[in-house]
Symmetry: C2
Subunit: 453 residues, 2 copies
Amino acid sequence: MERTLILDTVKKAGEEVLIKGWVRTRRDHGKLIFLDIYDRSAVLQVVVNAKVSEEAYKNALSFSPQDAVEVKGEVKKRPENTINKDLKTGEVELEVKELTILAKSETLPFDMGGKDLNLELPTLLDHRSLTLRHPKVISIFKLQESIVDNFRKIAKEFGCTEIFTPTITASATEGGADVFAVDYYDKKTYLAQSPQLYKQMMVGVFERVYTIAHAYRAEPSVTTRHLSEIVQLDMEIGFAGFEELLDDLELVGTTILKKAAEENKEILSIFGVEPPLVPNKVPRLKFRDAQKIITERTGRDLSKEPDLNPEDEKEICAWAKEVHKSDFVTITHFPTKKKPFYTMPDPNDPEYSLSYDLLFNGEEISSGSQRINELNMLTESMEKRGIDPKKFGMYLQAFKYGIPTEGGFSFGLERLTMKLLKLKNVREASLYPRDMERVDERLSLIYKKEPKQ
Amino acid sequence: MERTLILDTVKKAGEEVLIKGWVRTRRDHGKLIFLDIYDRSAVLQVVVNAKVSEEAYKNALSFSPQDAVEVKGEVKKRPENTINKDLKTGEVELEVKELTILAKSETLPFDMGGKDLNLELPTLLDHRSLTLRHPKVISIFKLQESIVDNFRKIAKEFGCTEIFTPTITASATEGGADVFAVDYYDKKTYLAQSPQLYKQMMVGVFERVYTIAHAYRAEPSVTTRHLSEIVQLDMEIGFAGFEELLDDLELVGTTILKKAAEENKEILSIFGVEPPLVPNKVPRLKFRDAQKIITERTGRDLSKEPDLNPEDEKEICAWAKEVHKSDFVTITHFPTKKKPFYTMPDPNDPEYSLSYDLLFNGEEISSGSQRINELNMLTESMEKRGIDPKKFGMYLQAFKYGIPTEGGFSFGLERLTMKLLKLKNVREASLYPRDMERVDERLSLIYKKEPKQ
């Protein structure tokens, strides 16, 4: 008998079907047992009635949550008054004839049957291979998939070619210190902090590119919004100046979140969040003007600050929401010396740069700039920051051969997911988050087992 | 004046347009200069006539290949006898009024104007940021993009969720020796050899998953078909047994190559290769039977061999082509002891395993198996291979909680691209290939500049 996907049972009332999936919950009521069984498509109420099959009833008594099972039975329309509108399959149920455990689960260390898991983050992560199975947790990653799909879609509409850039690099990508070193045969190499340099090089090849890339940051601090390994959604656009890049950034950023929200209303409602407020025109502020607004609102003097801190980001987002009915705000013209070497200084005021951040719901979700596209200017900018151009030979080679005005931006996928669902910690938006203290298991646990290597 | 994409000039005969792009070639004929200008959409013949604009003509004399330029002019229908059917824009040309260099290129170290580059591989890679701009080289990566798109498409049709798996791992993924170590804060971690373990863990969450992941192999040898960093297309399918997995593997493998070939006929013709021969039913052979066929054809005794070597793969593919008119052949039941710990032994003959390779055009392009999905069997299989289960705590956790019969397969993206275009070396199918000797530049060159770190 061929397997029926659970969602398809809705169309099969009166028919006998075979379903496969996992037990979510079991409720016993005398000689009746109710099982919620789920597969990749949906969840279904399964009724085991001793009067229908005594054998099935006896079998079902051994069923427990997370068992992988297969069940044969007849799909029945539920009486009007027992229809469950919260379920896609709420109009039907399965009257069981036969059921089998395919793979038995151990007893769960905590209840997985509720709407929420209600676990502290360390517990959630210590049991990650189990807690990921909770429907609310699964939905985070279904939304994440949708964000990526929408990014790809708009990137293709922009005429971008998808590229795959290497993550093992000979030099620290942006010349920073926070890189992981790799033993590469008998040499030292590094994990790329971003696909930045490669996507720029590819402007000379494909003109417009996008990539979904892993990026690595050895930040020796534990915050709610940083991970040591992330997924980045990157775009780079040739023959584009500053204003066009800003338009592109805002269009891409608002579109992917708006579309992901529209396509996943159910998930947003599980998390009790509203779809993003997208104005006709995202408010744009120069960095110094944003600071002035924050000062007016809070009294804090920011005139010596070279960047926005998390509190500033929250404040300027609150302003954008109040004044412009927008969950988004773009900040431009950050101080040049705080930006990476490839950032183009503003020709009218070189102390500031043609850089931009897109903020959403209180936090930066994207960063980018127009780039320096002229070889000498680029090597000078490197040297000014103490970076040796000789270590970036292949990167600089691209700029010998006609790289036009260009720029781009990138989004952190986990950050986007976190902000859209208003999760408290970015770790919740990574299947298996990496940080200073954890690589799947807590490092302190893994490494106590044996002498330090 | 707004920019017109070069491909769109075809519809604009008689109109004045502004194009932006790069100079591919320049040919001077007295007071006429012909430029081939390309952007991301197409290439166009641009005619600079001193009689139309003396100033434009003088400017054009300074144009050279790879200059990024912008050109204004009138789109003209070409006379019937000068139509170039090899170009998408072959029915028109641009009569120039004004032209400007946006970014000047240095003199090229070799001619980039021909149909082929004709460079030795080391030269091709030493100048990678330039040689990638050659149209034939670009087309390799356009085809690669199409392979990935088709993989995603069929994975979605299969009901797979896209996942993003970490590449920094606490243990060598498959327990092997060929891993790169990473200095992770004050601990040692490793670069994942594949997303294998994570995709298996995710069967318990999403039932069916796919991922496009970087994988790392510290293979201390230089061959034409191995890289140190690759992109893998991975799929994993829950509630599926061996026969179903084989059907899925063959459907996915043949579909992505067939579709990529159909959608890129022009690229295949640039490389002078035929689309893949896909039979109604891909021939399937058990490993030992494949060996027997090879022995019959070559006289080589393989009865002691535990695997197929590259020569064997070529021979059995030749057989499939001759006997089954197929560029594909599937080999199953490889010896269990040669396969990774998670491979399910054949219950009827445990010396052999429920494993499979898909071969195409003389080489393995995909490998996979039904997996061991039972916890005790899994830890036993690890111990038999000298792998400490304690190091795989998070992986094994997943198997405590009901993982059904499952399996999957993975494709190396660079290998697929190489085999479809019959490239001689897999490095040609990687934008910036990593191997023992090269990370962008040759390591011997990078590291001679300073004492070994």
